[in-house]
Symmetry: C3
Subunit: 311 residues, 3 copies
């Protein structure tokens, strides 16, 4: 216990200086506002949704036809409440920021009612999302010789985790709910290394193998039966001229990938006008910035390798 309590007196003065920066640099604090959505609750929601979609695999075992209705009914009820609250927070915050209104002032808009409406609209999409994901699981099995069973894919595959969360986040994105879709997609990104923006439109039977380093941009369109590997970027064509002047948020900046395309590891496909035609195959490490006709195989003319005796 050789610490010196007198040294701690410096801390009060330091605290004052830190507080002072909250006034001077207010862009990165969040004081006097109504609560934002909570990361913890949003991630709970994600795990609850996975229980509904893939019942019996994770949190709750021993489910059978005699008890699953109770379990899922209870989950849906609780999801309704959590989603309503978190969506209301996101909507209120966005509104107050836009109008520079302080928390506690009487809101013109009933954000709870708005949140509930959107929560129910979102929950209504679960049956069709589940159908999409069943096709994704099958596509993973068909596309990976190392997959032993559908169970292994549902249990372990990061590509399935990423597309599961993206399909959920995309519905929230379509309902114009702020923050929450991106919180979900970054949660998946953190755990899988796969970064799919909630705005991307992705057709059925989609499979990402391995997946670390995959980036799929906001305005991407992917048709059915597409397979992509680790390190693939479907991104914006970024030249300095895009950086200058005003950034136009929302324009189509990312490519369209038509049906039955395969894109091998580390390929890069860029640009909002770039279309990869149906049935094409893009080789590993290819870099594409112009459209590719259907049924085309694009391979990279390999750079010369130099072989010499190792020193």
């Amino acid at each position: 216990m050789a610490t010196d309590p007198r040294r701690k007196e410096a801390l009060a003065e330091l605290t004052d200086r830190i507080i002072q920066t909250y006034y001077e640099i207010s862009s990165i604090n969040h004081l006097g506002h109504c609560p934002l959505p909570s990361n913890e609750v949003v991630f709970e929601i994600a795990n609850d949704l996975k229980e509904v979609i893939y019942p019996g695999y994770r949190r709750r075992q021993n489910l059978h036809v005699g008890n699953v209705a109770y379990y899922v009914g209870d989950l849906i009820d609780s999801l309704h409440d959590k989603l309503t609250q978190q969506i209301a927070r996101a909507l209120r915050h966005e509104h107050q920021k836009g109008h520079q209104i302080v928390c506690g002032s009487r809101p013109e808009i009933d954000f709870e009612a708005e949140g509930q409406k959107k929560a129910i609209l979102f929950l209504e999409t679960l049956p069709s999302i589940r159908e999409m994901l069943a096709h994704d699981v099958q596509a993973a099995f068909d596309g990976d010789p190392a997959a032993g069973s559908l169970d292994e894919i549902i249990f372990c595959y990061p590509g399935l985790e990423a597309i599961t969360i993206q399909r959920l986040a995309h519905e929230l994105y379509l309902l114009e709910i702020p923050y929450i879709p991106r919180m979900l997609s970054e949660w998946a990104h953190s755990r899988t290394g796969i970064d799919i923006h909630p705005g991307a439109r992705i057709g059925s039977s989609f499979f990402i193998d391995h997946g670390t380093g995959v980036v799929i941009g906001e305005t991407c369109e992917i048709h059915e039966h597409v397979k992509i590997y680790q390190g693939v970027t479907l991104g914006a064509l970024s030249f300095p001229k895009d950086e200058n002047g005003e950034i136009i948020r929302g324009a189509k900046r990312h490519p369209t990938i038509e049906a039955n395309v395969v894109i091998y590891a580390n390929a890069t496909i860029l640009g909002g006008d770039t279309v990869v035609g149906a049935g094409s195959v893009i080789g590993a490490s290819a870099s594409i910035t112009k459209s590719v006709p259907p049924n085309t195989q694009v391979t990279v003319e390999k750079p010369q390798l130099r072989f010499r005796e190792a020193s």
Copy 2:
């Protein structure tokens, strides 16, 4: 509290529709089956095993020669019980799936006894795994100028985390235990960005630096003293003809890397017949699909760079 309780009435009908999909799309639910292995328990097992292998570094501090035997003895006892149960679950599930048997019907096979046998066979490998990992730690220290000490490597290096889990998962894989090896390897993948299939055979003194984006396939063979960097893929040669027709699961699809090879960042080595000879060095971003003789330095003929004044 502006939510409308009458709106919640829609939820019962929605729950029914979701339950209905469990009948229509049964491939992604797990109802009426015996429990699968639990992710939580499997990850606990992984952390317990790390305590046995690297005692004193993480969960339990202040270990010394006077108390370590109690601590490790207790861990081994508890690992025996957890492993027996989880392996039994994995075996039972695999068997019932194969024979379409419902949970609760009298099993012909004593899965607990089978699980216990495999659990003990696995635990018996710990002394030799520990020896292998001591060489891996030394290889990391010898190979990274930024490493300050062995302790820092054991404490912080994701490459060591990945190979630790892989060496454990590989022993479970050799014992033909389903699910659990892949659950472990995807747990490591999620936390390190390094994706090594449990089936890969990896010699001693293996070092992965940085590691994000590394992919090592199921049938890879890596000899001793190999060093690889971030983004390296040791994968299958994937051409469209492989996708058509039947997928042959289990054949050697991934390369062999002989002793003392170094593979720099983002290089890609593909194909089951590809052998990189002992002592060779593969340059960054090289793409190899044919065998390389021993003691060869392979570098990429750099693509021309165009330099012009930035606009």
Copy 3:
């Protein structure tokens, strides 16, 4: 309950054999030493520091000018205590290792006092770190058309998470505190896929977009207003001759990136003498091992793509 208790008798003998390896292979255990810093406490410290820097966003909501001083004052006080203890552990361990002293022997150095001094020196840097990070948040907003607001960046962007932890870890590194800086940077690496060594010197208004696979080495220097994308490596020039002979730890091995440089996805810039001049733009997948003059746009002469009808 078909497990056989007699089989468990083998476990005692196995435990003995494992303990035996602690004597034979002592390089990877930590017995009889004073406690190392605790991962759990170090990660708590990181989360506490994020609360101080970005108040109101995460753990604690409903902060306002009337209560924030209490909250932050309490956090700083507790950070002082935790940091003092963890830094003291790191210093003591490093000293005892260097001098092969056993834990419990009377130390010549008062590590608690030393730890407290460094803890306070570190905490004193928080106001200026906070100012730097406000510029980083703005740089992310200016640089990403998909960013909806500053809040979204603070809440969700892995690039901001990585640079936040790096700026904190860098100050601890400058104070020559062992272990803890690297524990922090690997914590961020694990959650973001972005691997920035605590030693790297990074100027203001730094933005990493997407980020998975980024590697920034220990002796890198990055000036202000630099933007980099996923998969970029700022690394050491690694040729076999570097591996032979003695590894010189600490020399400048990594490049210098001057102000207003943009580096697109998967580019690789290597070598301690390599300088990318101010205002330059490095194209995707470019591989640079020599200096680039200011205001230069470097693009890769694309490898020929072969197009043929897919079979």
